[in-house]
Symmetry: C2
Subunit: 206 residues, 2 copies
DNA sequence: ATAGAAAGCGGACTGCGGTCCGTTTAGCCT
DNA sequence: AGGCTAAACGGACCGCAGTCCGCTTTCTAT
């Protein structure tokens, strides 16, 4: 008599079969190589499948769509960035006063988004990833705004502060209006200062 | 002896040939019908061409791409909206105090964007149209902010106020976070109030 | 070891956006 | 009228995202 490897109701989703795992790795490596050597546009589903030595159906089984694949590629850097925010060195990570953290957050977010601009665009609004990324950032900004004593509709204010950091806006500003990045960063800092300063009473951090 | 119908260097782009004009109208009507009866996704280039009784190449000659066609469909309502801002009744049009105009602007923009959400999404960042729409709105907001006595980097602040009105953000808020539209509108008003109120001195209108 | 079932696999197939190029037609000039 | 040219036309064609379904592999229970 034996038990199943893991109790079906406990371990969340069932574990991945070994060939599936191997193929997922191969696909991610193939996609990364293609991005690095030929750019994002060269990442066609056929090309990735061929380079990884699997069929096209397999690509779609692992990653729902092309956007899903791009989202998976973004995942590494996104995770690293979230870790830096949650537990990295100040002022981005914990330890600095809330306002400094907030300004560092915007700075860093603008740089990161511009760095991965084409990948983010290609990932589009791929359900899960976009939502996860947005909700993490939104949660953090809500938290900092609250620490700064901001009253009112904090969730909406947080979204409003996040919106100008979206790649669509940044791309418009840098590529079409030719605005230098550091001016955009200073502009965001000014926006934050105004939103927070309009608060009747600012609160000191404990 | 005769002159050319119009001096070549004066009339801007050369006039449209009559068959071209006829076909453009037929294509726009076909596309509008398809949107109204079957939704935006049904607007395939083949379908539009077939319904208008022309070849596919003709569609691409008139409107550069699918996005360009969608942009052309948006053009009517966009133009009407711009006219309402420039010369319609207050508070959206001229006549009301700047702050009231600004709030009316945001209100109206949110409603308009949500109303044409799928068309705007399908139009994507179709070069000309997206840029024209953005730059009109940006110009208007810059003007009103200046009237309100706002100092600092007004162009960046204007873009920052416009960003949360983009369809991507609005869609996230209304469809995924289930936020009611009027709360979004109140939230934007709060944002504006904070940005403007942070100004040391407000200026009275002449 | 082995059999059975579930998960995974692969590549042919479909539909759509976009391009190309040989043919047609409108508008002008004699 | 007749011809000439540039513009417009049309539909065959291409590449890629995404689907489908019959075949293969892995894992587990005996």
């Amino acid at each position: 008599m034996s038990e199943p490897r893991s109790l079906p109701l406990l371990g969340g989703p069932p574990p991945e079969r070994s060939d599936a795992a191997r193929n997922r790795e191969a696909l991610l490596r193939a996609a990364t190589d293609l991005v690095d050597h030929c750019g994002v546009e060269a990442v066609t589903m056929d090309a990735v499948a061929a380079k990884a030595g699997v069929g096209k159906g397999t690509v779609y089984r692992r990653f729902e769509s092309r956007e899903g694949l791009m989202a998976a590629l973004l995942n590494h850097s996104e995770t690293a960035w979230q870790a830096a925010v949650l537990s990295g060195p100040p002022p981005l990570g914990p330890g600095a006063p809330p306002m400094e953290r907030l300004l560092a957050f915007g700075h860093s977010r603008i740089e990161t988004n511009l760095k991965h601009a084409d990948l983010i665009t290609a990932a589009g609004h791929s359900g899960a990833r976009a939502y996860a990324a947005m909700s993490f950032a939104a949660m953090h900004v809500r938290y900092l705004l609250t620490r700064l004593g901001v009253r009112g509709d904090v969730p909406i204010l947080a979204t409003s502060l996040l919106a100008p950091l979206e790649i669509a806006i940044l791309h418009q500003q840098t590529h079409i209006e030719q605005i230098p990045v550091d001016r955009i960063q200073r502009g965001w800092a000014e926006l934050v200062r105004r939103v927070v300063a309009a608060e009747p009473s600012a609160v000191m951090a404990p």
